[in-house]
Symmetry: C2
Subunit: 157 residues, 2 copies
């Protein structure tokens, strides 16, 4: 399905760094090439700073996949999916992780470090990395994800 080793970029805020660190350790044990963008402590940081830098790593081709962890995964998912070309799947179980790859060719995961446990996080990542995109009718839908006209790039209201 996937080539080993993969280049995988990870980022987290203070609510997600513990699960992110677990995933970094697991990915390295699998032989993957891991770029850990932090954060690496419980000191309060802003999740979008980490979301955007990991998106840049994926969009530039420096990483095959990106993984973002905050308290719920929600903030990371809004910020990452702002980027054309990023399909960041916020999931809390393995079925959605599989479908994110099969149907959406998702290239990033968002996880909730305060919502799911370590074993679930590892299983989600394992399934995500092991699942191939199905293509077919899903190509047309993916092509429509980006709005034709950016309705508002002034920033958040």
């Amino acid at each position: 399905m996937t080539n080993i080793p993969l280049k995988i970029a990870l980022g987290a805020d203070h609510g997600g760094f513990k699960l992110k660190d677990v995933l970094v350790t697991w990915l390295r044990a699998q032989g993957h090439d891991v770029h850990d963008f932090g954060t690496n402590s419980a000191d309060s940081v802003d999740y979008p700073d980490y979301a955007h830098i990991v998106c840049d790593a994926v969009l530039s081709g420096n990483a095959h996949y990106g993984v973002l962890v905050c308290g719920t995964g929600l903030g990371m998912s809004y910020a990452a999916n702002r980027h054309a070309g990023i399909r960041c799947a916020l999931v809390s179980e393995t079925t959605s992780a599989r479908l994110a790859r099969e149907h959406n060719n998702a290239n990033m995961l968002a996880l909730g470090g305060r919502m799911i446990g370590e074993e679930m996080g590892i299983d989600i990542l394992r399934v995500f990395l092991a699942t191939a995109y199905e293509g077919g009718r899903h190509d047309r839908r993916i092509a429509k994800i980006q709005p034709k006209f950016q309705p508002n790039v002034k920033g958040e209201p």
Copy 2:
């Protein structure tokens, strides 16, 4: 928390229209002003078409909140969060629905019509609509969700 009646726009694909219809019925029973953008059958459609039209309703001020349902909620969440000013929370339980409002001032929900049941969907929506944004430190983070530079508006690769 919220004023009654609220104006709420809903959209779904063929994997989400059944749950969407349950939510439309529930919202109308609560006295809300509902705009149902469809789809209204199991005939195959493309989820981004419905995501973008509901986002437009929210961004234009014609709706206070938007609700999107596809099979997993994933496709809807990528498409909706492409729009600056939309914070579309993909959730499968009520804790995340509460935190999406308290921490993110989320203005849209994405739900998985093939992942959660009707009662869970109603409870998620009930909690979402009843919960106020906390403001404070979260304002700064929300302001950072939109990337400063749109890195790629050419469309999906």
